[in-house]
Symmetry: C2
Subunit: 433 residues, 2 copies
């Protein structure tokens, strides 16, 4: 049992409370209060100059793409995918994906991310990596189909997704949650969408899908499907009938937003990736006004190029101020909630994302004593606009410390870096052969 | 004399060179090469897993405004200035400005900034703080006038600016350079602009001015001055006849860009501040295409809210990709140059901003071994998109280490934080009285 003492806390009401005492027992927060609880503790953590806050929940990620960090820069989305990412991905194997995922988890822990909503291939390797290092993951094997006649139930891809669900869903005390994912409208057929929606309903799995990331995608979808937008089309085919995370939603129209709201779809906005690939700026204030939950995703390390959630939070808080010409939009508190409790809810983790008795101990300790965090007029403002991801000095997932002061207790970082560099070189060698 | 050994270097050509040896003697770089120089050294710095690169030059700052970090958030530029910043500033005194400047310098050093182009009041306190901690500063006392008849030569403000120039220009082996600044077109009269331009020409001082930050500013200027934009108007009155830094330039028109180019004005773009106050996105690619030098400014800690240049570099590199719908715009190398050598040139520091023999030793050591910097497909890409400001582990100004691993050899940070907190509380007390 660990005691955080005399620490500033972002409490369950989202308020800043100073000089608090928080205890963690097993995977859960046991107590939060302003007086020291009785008893002895395995460890007492001195909270002077520190903030204890909920860890981050990354609502859209492709963890193994750390392998492609900085590979193929300054290209359009189409060129980036076609000339760089797809050929590189063709060379991936289970080992490369395992090590690249561990690298992503190390970076995630370093930047305070406890859990990621992840969509990729070789998903069993991703699951194993997450289990091995203690990360939480909402994971899915992305499904695609380009053959109108293809029967999903018989495809290897679906069987992999099904096996993944049966082998990993709920393991690690619920840390691993398996979802069903459709890669996107433009990489699928109506038959696949319907069949996947049917399966998700059968087993009660969450759905993860890329939606309306670019204007071109929306226009092409309308051309293919009687003028319907991706949101309308996917909704008509039943994809949103189980709890869904829709990544991007940059180019959603008024009717789309009503559908997302009616279907309780969470939008995972990826502000940095959407800038880098010149996709656009998601209209977060309008989505929220219409009742749509908005969480924050880093997207992959190939299009961000990192998993520094606090950096993405700053982009999230700033971009709509300028785009909608209104600096009152997106408050610091809204930004922090999007990256914490709303992200946790999007992942179906209803006991995660707040510092409250009985809730899961997914926690960050942040050093708030640096010159860049002084003075304090309002700690929320400093947290969103002034803090650096590296101010995070400790990350805990389900009560287990996974990062502290440059150390990764659950990951052999030197080995991981070496394995990733080898895998990268092997793939580049094959591509250049 | 210090030797950096076996270190990766961003060399004088802007290329990445591995396993280099760099020596610093006094304030200058003595040698750069791939073999170990002979001799013994006071200190040998092991460069394994590290990058040695030029320090940053912050092209637009108001250092003492660290006091107002996070004070007055989510407001329009006008409300922010009128309801928050101006009343707070009315309460400032020389002591508050001195300590707040030291806080800004600590943060600047922590984030690799060697030198800032700074404009504010109580400028002699700012200069003293910079001298005391070893920072470089291009400093000016901002001039304003709202009286068409007022004769600049007789104003206290001008006499302060003149005294500042005479007392501090060139001191500290040239680290302090005093400039003349006009706050902006909208806070001045034609007479002030002409007289200040005349004085700057007389003494050969550089000029610093806010230009075309908001659309409303440009429209109001046209109304006041026969349809002329701020750039046209200030140019007509001779303000750009000495070397000038024009901050913001978000709303410049085609003819403005030609003038800026003809007059060799450097634009200091402030991407984060311009988002936060909903001012707009400076068209960096177009300015560069027309031959205008573009450097990067943080603006103040009240509108950023920090001095984390590497964070601002990421915004700089990303914003125009999305705004101009072209992800090929603003390469990582261009972004780094804007924050280093172009910033140094804007400050008239012609022997700063590159790692080359005989140049000033304004240097950063960056830890490039973290998980977020792995793998390396292209180090520039990692530096701009993946690195964190906190990866900077050492900052050197004119050969003197001013930051290393959380320590500030030239600043008593605990005292500074305490003095700033006291000054803040005193001012808030007066405002609430």
């Amino acid at each position: 049992m660990i005691l955080f003492k005399n620490i500033t806390v972002l409490d369950k009401y989202g308020e800043i409370a100073e000089n608090q005492f928080v205890t963690v027992k097993g995977s859960r927060i046991q107590s939060v209060g302003s007086t020291r609880p009785e008893g002895t503790f395995e460890r007492e953590y001195d909270g002077k100059g520190k903030l204890l806050m909920p860890a981050f929940y990354n609502a859209h990620a492709h963890s193994p793409m750390t392998l492609m960090r900085g590979y193929g820069e300054n290209l359009s989305l189409n060129d980036w995918l076609t000339d760089r990412i797809f050929p590189f991905e063709d060379q991936l194997d289970a080992g490369a994906v395992y090590w690249a995922t561990l690298l992503a988890m190390a970076e995630s822990f370093r930047y305070g991310i406890a859990s990621s909503t992840d969509m990729y291939y070789f998903a069993d390797s991703i699951a194993k990596a997450a289990v091995d290092c203690g990360a939480k993951l909402n994971l899915s094997r992305a499904l695609v189909s380009f053959d109108e006649e293809e029967d999903m139930w018989k495809t290897v891809r679906f069987l992999e997704a099904k096996d993944l669900y049966e082998e990993f869903n709920g393991i690690g005390d619920g840390r691993i949650r398996i979802e069903m994912s459709l890669h996107a409208e433009y990489t699928s057929t109506p038959k696949l969408v319907s069949q996947l929606a049917e399966y998700a309903r059968q087993i009660g799995a969450q759905v993860h899908v890329h939606v309306s990331e670019t204007q071109a995608e929306v226009e092409a979808c309308k051309g293919r499907h009687e003028g319907r937008t991706p949101v309308r089309y996917l909704s008509d085919l039943g994809l949103f009938d189980t709890k869904t995370t829709a990544a991007h939603c940059v180019w959603v129209e008024s009717e789309d937003i009503d559908i997302l709201s009616d279907k309780n779809v969470t939008v995972a906005t990826c502000p940095v990736s959407n800038l880098k690939l010149a996709s656009g700026v998601c209209n977060v204030p309008l989505l929220k006004e219409k009742g749509v939950a908005v969480a924050i995703g880093t997207d992959s390390a190939a299009s961000n190029n990192g998993l520094n959630m606090l950096s993405d939070i700053k982009f999230f808080a700033l971009l709509n101020k300028e785009r909608r010409a209104d600096p009152t939009l997106v408050t610091p508190k809204e930004a922090i909630e999007a990256a914490t409790v709303i992200g946790a809810q999007a992942q179906g983790r209803t006991d995660c994302g707040r510092i409250a008795e009985g809730w899961r101990a997914d926690l960050i300790v942040m050093d708030i004593a640096g010159p860049h965090m002084t003075p304090v007029h309002d700690l929320y403002n400093n947290l969103v606009y002034s803090a650096s991801g590296s101010d995070i000095v400790l990350t805990m997932v389900d009560g287990r410390i996974v990062y502290e002061n440059g150390n990764y207790p659950t990951i052999d970082l030197e080995r991981v870096k070496s394995e990733v560099e080898s895998a990268k070189n092997k793939i580049l060698g094959a591509l250049n052969a």
